[in-house]
Symmetry: C2
């Protein structure tokens, strides 16, 4: 009798990251305060705006919202994004701007287009778990890009590129997932210079860039080395993740291939969500709504940092991000964060153990805490419980 | 200087089906009567229903419609689909029913999960072009499944399975794209028997099954060999393709892997579209609206068949489907349909030359005609122009 293993392709051996799936299952239970996910706050959804836009869109151009659309993305949305990108300092022509089913899909398609089995892919260490999940299907060899308190280290990248043939580099320069770190201007300039020198290709994933609660914006690496960067952004954090809308600015040759890959993957991105987003951007709703989101998250970030100060001072260290959705906590090296995790579950608080964001088996004493999806009034309690579970393990 | 070819993975050599893309570009021009696409009629979109449902959904459960959702699909939609599938004669448990970003995505993910380079995949000859586009990325070896006027031939499948190790079989049993043919009950029973005997896996793609304008429904192969069939359906033809919603009923072991693959591909399908579809099915809108669609397409099918009788009698032969969106025309073997295509463009009518639906280089004298997206009053004129272009080439 044939089993599923007789049917599966060899690439699936890398796709089944079951360990973290199993661990995070328990966070679903109702009474757990979860700092584990990466969800936006439901209070941050512009429900009334979306309701109004839905009616407008279905009134004025229902066929565009309901018919098959181009694989490149809906024309009016792409046009709006060209202008929006320009405001972010990224100059792009229309054919370089494409829309996808969430930016997650772009990671999958870039893997499909560029990565042969065993090809070297450089990822920040630690890096976004979802990027690994997408790329794993193409069986790359990950080269961890060393980071420090200021994020990814340019010299380390240069050394990697000097010694290895690298297909793709992946980084989240703004309020990184999982660390919350932001790359400074000088490092970005260095990295841009290195990319050009080595003719390397960087995926600059920027879902959190607009979620800045203090400090000033840093220019994108894309703006410094446009031919060597695929810039990736998303509507998930500024409008709604449920609409599944990501977008890219990619060099012409890459964007052409992304369209071909997109066609085989799902033909095109949902037309109704795209029509909603087009109006959300072009109608000026995005900027107005963003201030609501920023106010909300600014309070939550302040609350979690205050709680960490109060409960984990002299027990652990942590990042102090100026935006995004995550704080990264480092415990003394003798403590295992997965052990802390199970104690934390007993105490009804959850987080993600940091080792899952590493590709080289380190990070055992680190934790990723999400603060966007828990009310600021509960964050103190959550961190107090967390401190308790750390003490349980240290005891 | 590195070129794009230095960066691309080897699998891309099979992904760039540029020939048909280039050919069909010219059909976009405004004054061409296009029988080339596979688009539903815009008049068939339930605009007012969708408008009402949108408001209801965003009123009653906005968070579900706008937040991240499960990779399996939205709970209420899956529940509604379990009941809907039962009405189609397919009994399925909740964990076997999943929602995807169009059924196109399922073809991509099945390729990803099951197909190693060089693995044998059996496809009807001719077959749906989009299936080839999805699967090409996984570099299968296609084995063409011979067909006749009644569709795919069971004995031919058995011979293929006896002689070859086959990973996947792909077929569209109802109103096939491109031929419009429907497999009869006896053939389906035979095929089901063969699947079980050879422990083979069939993808039964059924986007058109509900679009029957005359005659009676034939049970699905899924209902006859549930463990050996991944049943695939879509909301594109009964609600709206722009919502990008496909769904499957897959054996438990396959559905579990589809969820893992889905997670890496785009995390989950759009929540708002799924919430709309859930209400569309559970609220009883689907069946009521379907009668509107059937009335519309029934007239168009009658019109194209009448026009073919009038203008191509004794020049060509064609299928007489009882549903779906396509009629398949066979010209005398001396005529090349691609030559006819270019003449047709001059005469301002378009279709798809049939050879593109074949994997073995045959079908040069065949053409796929779509009738769903052209008003019945224009179909006579379209076929008259087509007849003219055939005469141009025959002359």
């Amino acid at each position: 009798m044939k089993t599923i293993d007789d049917r599966l392709a060899t690439r699936t051996t890398r796709m089944n990251a079951s360990a973290i799936r199993e661990i995070l299952k328990v966070t679903q239970s109702g009474d757990i305060l979860s700092l584990a996910g990466g969800l936006p706050a439901p209070e941050a959804f512009p429900v009334d705006i979306v309701k109004g836009i839905c009616q407008k869109v279905l009134e004025e151009n229902p066929v565009q919202a309901l018919q098959y659309g181009p694989s490149e993305g809906l024309g009016p949305l792409r046009q709006a994004l060209v202008e929006y990108a320009a405001r972010l300092g990224i100059s792009a022509s229309l054919d370089e701007v494409l829309v996808f089913t969430g930016s997650q899909q772009v990671l999958d398609l870039l893997g499909k287009l560029l990565v042969n089995t065993g090809d070297n892919v450089v990822v920040e260490n630690p890096t976004y778990l979802g990027a690994l999940q997408s790329l794993n299907a193409y069986q790359p060899n990950y080269i961890p890009w060393p980071t420090d308190d200021e994020g990814a280290i340019p010299d380390a990248l240069e050394e990697i590129l000097r010694k290895n043939r690298v297909k793709l580099i992946y980084a989240v320069p703004n309020f990184q997932n999982p660390t919350g770190r932001t790359l400074g201007l000088e490092r970005r300039r260095c990295i841009a210079r290195i990319l050009v020198q080595y003719e390397a290709l960087l995926v600059e994933d920027d879902p959190y860039g607009r979620l800045r609660y203090s400090g000033t914006d840093v220019p994108t690496i894309k703006s410094m080395a446009p031919d060597n960067v695929v810039y990736l952004s998303s509507f998930s954090k500024v409008l709604s993740p449920g609409l599944r809308l990501g977008w890219v600015v990619a060099p012409h040759e890459i964007s052409r291939w992304l369209v071909i890959a997109k066609q085989g993957a799902d033909l095109h991105t949902g037309s109704l969500p795209q029509a909603i987003a087009a109006e959300f951007v072009a109608g000026g709703y995005l900027d107005r709504h963003l201030s609501v989101v920023l106010d909300l998250y600014r309070r939550r970030l302040a609350a979690i940092l205050e709680a960490l100060e109060c409960h984990l001072n002299e027990v652990a260290t942590w990042t102090r991000p100026q935006g995004g959705m995550f704080v990264w906590v480092t415990l003394p090296a003798v403590l295992d964060a997965e052990e802390v995790y199970w104690k934390a579950i007993e105490r009804k608080v959850a987080f993600v153990p940091g080792k899952f964001f590493h590709t080289d088996g380190v990070g055992n004493s680190t934790m990723r805490l999400n603060f966007s999806n828990t009310h600021e009034d509960r964050l103190g309690e959550a961190i107090e419980r967390l401190a308790g579970s750390i003490k349980d393990v240290a005891a």
